[in-house]
């Protein structure tokens, strides 16, 4: 019996490999398994290669898994195009269509030889059962049902939803293909049992969603009233989600003519008093930075979600990367401080988006949420969320007394000034991107500038100190450390658990608030650290660099950074930790950025 199975499948566009994956994860979720599914495609819009990777488990999964347990190749050309995204290992079982004419001994996999290889007549069996080769994906579902033990009913439910409209004949044909697959599985037992243990979650209690939808849902929960944006992969689904939902709540989604107009309209709507949002990816974010500067100096609440893809420039539009962190923190002229948050899983997108709105409204600031293609597009099961635990904040409005002699940018102790909205008698002011005094009047001189810069930085003091915006996993005194953010945090969670299992003294730091840096939180975490890794999906290891800017980083803490679209496996991280552990000294000389001379 297995607790955790990772399946990878690839074929060409028409093969329906992705909808097979969708059926599988829906069924798994419905009966109470935890699961995660990511899809990957070639550059073609239609046709071309496509693949998916589904992980099904009896316990919560935090990452897409390492090497595949079960690989399904409808043809080798397409399968191989996904390279390390569908990596096989020595424990993998490989299934492929025998009509490829390749002998099991000759399959073109590089590296490790798989544990078991099946050349099955997938097309032939499908045609025999269904009378058409278009039902290959149903045959594969049957195979998986047989091997994994996920029930026929649950799997057929998804298939019915998908094919119901196309008439009963097609559905029947696909059911026959499914059954043929199931029989085939029974006839070809696996040498490594993958029959899943019973799920331990009540059937029907799981949610299933992708990160972009959960981001949209978080925005709705937080009270979003305006979205202005422009389509860009891999963020567009956020606009599409809100385009379906927001109108019901009296809100508006504007598909603007470009990214500048999208964020501009959102800033306008926020100035007008509404909770506002935009979403984009790296290139769009580049265009929005001038507007973000305006929102900073004019102190306008705004949530911007950047679902990162590979860069620079058009880069890798459909692949994940974590290389927009520098951009998020520093792409502004002038001295700017704006909060940057990152969700670490699909479900976490909900929490982090609500948090982003709360911070934006409370501090009257743009807030950037750095999601990534991996989280944005992958589907995950999510355990029930108790939404009554979430607070929703509103921006500070001026009192009647304050409106008597209203100063929009009044100096206050915490740097946050009451913000009036158009329509309020007595609350009119000039909002401007030029430096201004407390009342809003343009005043481009040094004294005012120093004072207002100070206000705009000071107001984040209470944010920086928040302890609930990071998580420490494991023994806080452990000498080995991992630090990770975004989609890599899940991989590191699994790595940390694996490492502890094998006796390594490893802890993990996962920040939700990436910037500004909570120096104390990091300081405390790092105090006992002798060696470790900041694990990131980028070329430069951007968080590692930003930490050095602000925190005394022990010299033993290194950057483990890999360029986008190259998966980082938890087992590789554990291997690195093993090496670091072997070189550990006695826990004496933990050190810092500098020591006063």
């Amino acid at each position: 019996m297995a607790r955790d199975v990772v399946i990878g499948m690839a074929g060409s566009g028409g093969d329906g490999i992705v909808s097979a994956g969708e059926s599988l994860i829906s069924a798994a979720a419905a009966v109470g398994y935890h699961a995660m599914m990511s899809k990957s495609f070639g550059p073609q819009i239609r046709g071309g290669e496509s693949s998916c990777r589904v992980r099904v488990s009896t316990h919560q999964v935090h990452g897409p898994g390492d090497a595949l347990d079960l690989a399904v190749a409808l043809n080798w050309d397409d399968f191989l195009k996904f390279g390390t995204e569908l990596a096989c290992g020595p424990a993998s079982v490989v299934v492929y269509d025998s009509n490829t004419g390749i002998a099991p001994a000759d399959i073109p996999l590089k590296g490790a030889r798989p544990a078991q290889v099946f050349a099955l007549p997938l097309t032939e069996l499908t045609v025999a059962a269904a009378g058409t080769d278009k039902a290959k994906n149903s045959l594969i579902l049957g195979l998986l049902s047989g091997w994994l033990g996920i029930g026929r009913d649950a799997l057929l439910a998804g298939m019915r939803k998908r094919l119901g409209k196309k008439g009963p004949e097609l559905l029947a044909a696909n059911q026959r293909a499914f059954d043929a697959g199931h029989t085939c599985a029974m006839e070809n037992p696996l040498i490594r049992g993958m029959l899943l243990e019973e799920p331990n979650v009540k059937p029907g209690s799981m949610m299933l969603a992708d990160g972009n939808d959960m981001t949209g849902a978080g925005a709705v929960f937080a009270g979003v009233e305006f979205f202005g944006g422009y389509p860009i992969t891999p963020s567009t689904e956020i606009m599409q989600f809100l385009g379906r939902e927001i109108w019901k709540y009296g809100g508006v989604v504007l598909q603007a003519e470009d990214e500048i107009a999208g964020v501009g309209a959102a800033i306008g709507a926020s100035f007008a008093g509404k909770k506002s949002m935009t979403a984009t990816s790296g290139p769009g974010m580049a265009l929005k930075t001038e507007m973000l500067g305006l929102a900073t100096i004019a102190e306008i609440p705004l949530v911007l979600v950047n679902v990162q893809r590979g860069g620079p420039s058009t880069g890798l539009p459909t692949k994940t990367e974590q290389s927009d962190l520098f951009q998020a923190c520093f792409s502004a002229h002038g001295d700017v401080m704006r909060p940057v948050l990152a969700p670490t899983s699909v479900g976490d997108c909900f929490r982090v988006t609500i948090e982003a709105f709360n911070i934006a409204e409370k501090y009257q600031t743009p807030v950037i949420v750095l999601s990534d293609q991996d989280i944005g597009h992958r589907k995950e099961t999510i355990a029930p969320i108790d939404t009554s635990l979430f607070k929703v904040e509103q921006r500070l409005a001026p009192t009647e007394a304050q409106l008597e002699n209203y100063a929009r940018f009044a100096q206050t102790e915490d740097g946050i000034s009451p913000m009036s909205k158009p329509g309020t008698p007595g609350g009119a002011y000039l909002c401007a991107g030029i430096e201004h005094n407390e009342s809003g009047a343009p005043a481009a001189n040094g004294a005012v500038h120093a004072r207002m810069n100070d206000k705009r930085f000071r107001k984040f003091n209470s944010l920086v100190g928040r302890k609930d915006l990071f998580e420490v996993v494991g023994n806080p005194d452990a000498p080995l450390a991992l630090i990770a953010w975004g989609s890599l945090a899940g991989v590191c969670r699994e790595a940390q658990a694996l490492a502890v299992e094998e006796g390594l003294h490893v802890k993990l730091f996962v920040p939700t608030l990436l910037y500004p840096i909570n120096e104390d939180a990091y300081g405390e975490f790092l105090a006992s650290v002798q060696a470790g890794l900041v694990v990131e999906q980028s070329h430069q290891g951007q968080l590692y660099r930003i930490l050095r800017m602000q925190v005394d980083v022990p010299r033993g803490l290194k950057s483990l950074a890999r360029d986008g679209a190259n998966p980082i496996h938890s087992r590789d991280i554990v291997a690195r930790l093993r090496e670091l552990s072997a070189n550990l000294h006695a826990p004496s000389s933990t050190t810092a950025q500098g020591i006063s001379a």
Partner: protein
């Protein structure tokens, strides 16, 4: 929504002292606007007034409305966001020829085609005033400026023809040399239910036409209504607009006799239609439940 006591022009004038050059045409524009707004009668706090960057874009600060002096070229998207968020506000948008038709030119067709109910006033002085006298997109060909010392070799754009070709429902031109005419046009534009465009010939006395030229507008201008132009005639409006830069027509080039529903109206209708079926925001996650 207007208050009881009638509003006067001075109720719209703020305490900020304009820092325009003495004689700048923009003084006239803001004065005309005070009058037009007084005639309309919405109190200043129900008005949101958006601009970009430029001498002309300083105008919101000289009014008692909620002003938003944004960044160069981006007044239109911000104004649209305000109006879509709060359709009950009176929204005005203003700026220069450079702000509107150079860096901001990409936003104009889309502001127009959405037909959101607000008024866009461009103070067209055929030059970049604030940055001290460079070419603007409406500068005539051959003009020598600090960025065209050997003369400009590009033809100017035609703001009137452009905005007409984008399908604007109200397109007019005015000059502060004719204060009462300009005030009437501004008032009519603001009252038009949909996107309205007013091109104001507002000279830059420092880098463009001098003060006497501004006065000469009065003699050069040709009133479209006096010429017998029917503002419902779209094709004729296109033809007349082709004379921009040659003739100084004032008045309304085009007013759609059957104003189509505005974007903001359609939004309101959609809200009414969809509100009934909505779950509470707190229950937004229900849609993700995975039942067996």
């Amino acid at each position: 929504m207007s208050t009881a006591a009638p509003l006067l022009a001075k109720d719209f004038k703020s305490d900020l002292k304009p820092i325009w050059c003495p004689g700048c045409g923009d003084f006239g524009v803001v004065a005309g606007l005070y009058r037009a707004l007084a005639a309309i009668g919405r109190p200043p706090h129900e008005i949101a007034f958006v601009s970009g960057i430029g001498c002309s874009s300083r105008i919101p600060g000289y009014t008692t409305a909620y002003g938003f002096n944004t960044v160069h070229g981006r007044a239109l998207p911000i104004a649209q966001g305000i109006k879509l968020a709060r359709p009950e506000l009176l929204v005005l948008c203003a700026g220069g020829d450079g702000d509107g038709f150079s860096i901001g030119g990409g936003h104009v067709p889309h502001a127009v085609r959405r037909n959101i109910d607000f008024t866009y006033i461009v103070m067209d002085n055929q030059v970049y005033g604030l940055t001290k006298g460079q070419l603007s997109p409406t500068s005539p060909k051959g003009l020598k400026t600090v960025t065209s010392v050997f003369g400009s070799i590009e033809s100017p754009i035609n703001p009137l023809l452009q905005v007409l070709s984008y399908g604007a429902g109200f397109v007019a031109q005015a000059t502060p040399a004719d204060m009462s005419g300009m005030t009437a046009i501004l008032e009519e534009a603001i009252r038009y239910p949909g996107f309205a465009y007013v091109n104001v010939q507002s000279p830059c006395v420092t880098y463009g036409e001098d003060e006497n030229d501004l006065k000469a507008h009065k003699t050069k201008m040709k009133s479209l209504s006096k010429m017998g132009h029917d503002p419902a005639d779209y094709l004729k409006a296109l033809e007349l607009a082709t004379h921009y830069g040659v003739e100084l027509y004032t008045g309304v080039f085009y007013r759609n006799p059957n104003p189509p529903p505005t974007y903001d109206q359609q939004i309101t209708e959609r809200h009414a239609a969809l509100a009934a079926g909505a779950p509470k925001r707190e229950r937004v996650l229900d849609m993700f439940a995975q039942k067996p």
